[in-house]
């Protein structure tokens, strides 16, 4: 056994460690399978998908359009504030601010803005635009950093600053930036649909109700429409039409209800404060008693909600990560025409498209019927969605890799010739995805898995804004710490920086 030690390389070790950690997490996580009789419900679901009812949903076209329009305006808003920040992203304070904004899931932002703006389109657009803007700032900054500086050096003497910047720098990054914006627009469509779960008038509004109430014919139709919407982006989202869409989106927004200034003020100055501070009028009233009850409050929250929530969040995310690794490796293998031939690989390709388009929520719902209400359904849902996405991106690379003339087209040939070439990239994508998985656990919290999202949702539904905000802070902190650690590990071990921009490879998928 020890003889083979020198042959175990960096990636084997990383993979082994990942699975070891995941196995440990799996042991501690709640993964009990409890479901005695899922079949009658599953039969109803299957019937729904066999005979989808496209006419059961009221105002369906409006919902479709609002899904697009929220996504579009969200991305535009994100660009408006994120793109300029990219220029000063090297400032530590700006970077920190963006990291915090980014680390909070759209759905939490929406829950927060819901308290301020109510059921207003502003809520939805801000909820998408804020985290997206922060992501844009970082990714654009990364892209700008990597752009060649030679053009600026060769420009004619006396060229003015503006022309220098646009011809010398911006023109270099325009193509990758446009590709990234296209990719984020696809993400925004998903986010926009998800915001329907909490009341925005998008597809998700009806999708969630239909599945929750067991109207599977309607739910299936909505899901099919949603996948079709994402699958056909390249057909209806022509660059020339975008300006028209934006103007149309602005004009067809649902009416913006007025915001009562006094209530907004009360929200900021009172409702979000911990109970101990709520009824104070002057600073001088802060005494030992107040401090005591403040520390009790935060201690209770930490012990009863924040820590258990963090542990569940981490367990869930880590196991999902390892499972996603499995899905990605197997999926990439099966979908590679180097291994399985044209027919099978294109079938698997289609599967991967469906898997990555269906919101995790729907998978979790299905698995919950099959396996019972433990963490297992959420793990599987996250693993399938993210694994399929990584597999998809990896296959695009593996289809262009050069194989040796002796390549035999069998699994052993694949493992010798293709896998070593695509593996580093696959792992890079996987680790980048971890940040995303961690954020996505939020949705499962709202579905009832006791992650941090669960407690935040409870805080909002019990109208305890202070606890909700406190826990949102904890979520942001957790995400930032995990992000820093994983970045350090990756840089230390591979000397490469994982950039979100890698994902923009997806943009040309459609």
């Amino acid at each position: 056994m020890f003889k083979s030690l020198p042959f175990i390389g960096y990636w084997q070790k990383t993979t082994f460690t990942l699975w070891l950690i995941a196995a440990l997490c799996f042991y501690f996580a709640d993964t009990e399978i409890i479901s005695l009789d899922p079949w009658s419900e599953l039969r109803l679901m299957a019937e729904g998908f066999l005979r989808p009812d496209f006419f059961a949903t009221e105002y369906l076209l409006e919902a479709l359009w609002q899904t697009v329009s929220f996504a579009l305006l969200g991305v535009v808003f994100g660009l408006l504030w994120g793109a300029p920040l990219a220029l000063i992203y090297s400032n530590r304070f700006v970077a920190m601010l963006c990291a915090i904004t980014r680390s909070i899931h759209e759905i939490f932002w929406a829950l927060l803005f819901l308290q301020i703006f109510g059921l207003s389109p502003v809520t939805g657009i801000l909820a998408i635009g804020l985290p997206y803007g922060a992501t844009f700032a970082r990714v654009f900054h990364d892209i700008l950093l990597q752009s060649p500086k030679t053009t600026v050096q060769t420009l004619p003497y006396g060229t003015d600053k503006v022309s220098r910047y646009f011809y010398g720098r911006i023109s270099h990054v325009l193509v990758p930036i446009m590709a990234y914006i296209r990719y984020r627009f696809e993400c925004a469509l998903r986010s926009s649909a998800v915001l329907g779960f909490i009341g925005m008038p998008t597809l998700g509004f009806y999708l969630e109700t239909a599945f929750r109430q067991g109207h599977y014919h309607e739910g299936a139709a909505l899901l099919i429409l949603f996948i079709a919407l994402i699958g056909t982006i390249s057909l209806w989202c022509r660059p020339r039409l975008i300006a028209v869409y934006v103007v149309a989106a602005l004009f067809t927004l649902p009416s913006i209800p007025p915001v009562d200034g006094a209530l907004l003020w009360r929200f900021i100055t009172q409702d979000v404060l911990p109970p101990a501070l709520q009824n104070l009028t002057t600073w001088s009233q802060i005494d030992l008693g107040v401090m005591q009850s403040l520390s009790n409050w935060s201690q209770n929250l930490l012990v009863e909600q924040a820590f258990p929530g963090m542990i569940v969040t981490l367990l869930l995310a880590l196991v999902s990560l390892a499972m996603a690794h499995g899905v990605a490796v197997v999926g990439a293998g099966l979908a590679s025409n180097l291994l399985t031939g044209k027919l099978v690989s294109s079938g698997i390709h289609l599967c991967l498209l469906v898997l990555r388009s269906v919101p995790e929520y729907i998978f979790a719902f299905l698995f919950m019927m099959l396996l019972g209400p433990s963490m297992l359904p959420a793990m599987l849902a996250l693993a399938l969605h993210n694994g399929a996405l990584i597999a998809y991106l990896t296959v695009r690379q593996s289809d262009t890799t050069q194989v040796s003339p002796h390549y035999n087209g069998r699994i052993d040939g694949y493992c010798y010739d293709v896998l070593p070439q695509i593996y580093p990239n696959l792992m890079g994508l996987l680790f980048y995805r971890f940040e995303v998985i961690l954020r996505e656990t939020a949705i499962f919290g709202i579905l009832g898995i006791a992650s941090l999202g669960f407690y935040i949702d409870s805080g909002f539904s019990e109208i305890r804004y202070s606890s909700a905000l406190f826990l949102m802070g904890c979520t942001a902190l957790l995400n930032i710490v995990v992000d820093i650690i994983s970045r350090r590990l990756l840089i230390a071990n591979t000397g490469t920086q994982i950039s979100c921009a890698r994902e923009s490879g997806l943009s040309s998928v459609n």
Binding site: T150, T151, Q153, T154, L155, P156, V162, Y167, S171, V175
Partner: protein, 231 residues
């Protein structure tokens, strides 16, 4: 026009040019030869720094922009001639006059495809000519070129060199192809390890002198030079 005494230059913290004295007169056609790492590019970029306002510079790093069209890449030579708002508008929708000029120039450079073609679709030789076109489009008095023909065949190199001569009063060029240098330039200087080892007028220079200049170079470097000039 330009004169140095005991010039010393650094390139990435290493001495590239040592105590070099040189004077260049207006109207001269000057070729610089030498092996890789002799300090040619460093000298050239220094010359450009001194002559900036009157010179067009075609660098070895072509500085082309992949995402832009051929037209825009060439137009960048004229950035200094226009107001920034003109330049920005042109980035979105090309103006007629520069478009006609650039199309004409590209045809002369034997770039026989629409100027709207994206740079990323061009071959190595085509790119080099686009970079050259950008330098020509600057319409300056002096041309400073750092191996502007390295990716082209010898016949085309000669044709293009004539174009460069036609349009510029003074030409300073680093060349690998020594026969090109011997046949067309009035004056040839040779650099070796940052120092001037050869400086002769064309009529006083022979092929042997050039061979002598290259001969005490380590074998590997010399073979590299030959390989390149064979292209």
């Amino acid at each position: 026009m330009l004169k140095f005494e005991n010039l010393t230059l650094k390139y990435e913290d290493k001495l590239a040019i040592r105590q070099l004295s040189l004077s260049i007169k207006a109207g001269e056609k000057l070729a610089i030869i030498g092996t890789s790492g002799a300090g040619k590019s460093t000298l050239l970029s220094h010359l450009y720094q001194c002559l900036k306002s009157e010179a067009a510079y075609s660098s070895q790093k072509q500085g082309l922009v992949e995402g832009l069209s051929t037209y825009h890449n060439v137009f960048m030579g004229a950035l200094a001639r226009h107001h920034w708002s003109y330049n920005l508008f042109n980035l979105v929708s090309p103006f007629k006059q520069p478009l006609a000029e650039v199309t004409q120039l590209c045809q002369e450079l034997e770039l026989d495809f629409p100027v709207s073609k994206k740079l990323s679709e061009l071959s190595g030789g085509q790119r080099q000519r686009v970079a050259l076109a950008r330098a020509l489009y600057q319409s300056k008095d002096i041309f400073i070129g750092d191996e502007p023909f390295s990716a082209l065949d010898p016949l085309m190199s000669r044709r293009l060199l004539d174009m460069v001569f036609e349009r510029h009063n003074t030409v300073i060029m680093v060349l690998h192809d020594k026969s090109l240098a011997l046949e067309h330039f009035d004056r040839i200087i040779g650099l070796k390890q940052g120092q001037l080892h050869l400086d002769a007028r064309q009529d006083e220079l022979t092929s042997e002198m050039v061979d002598d200049f290259y001969c005490d170079i380590p074998l590997t470097a010399a073979s590299h030079v030959l390989a390149v000039s064979d292209v």
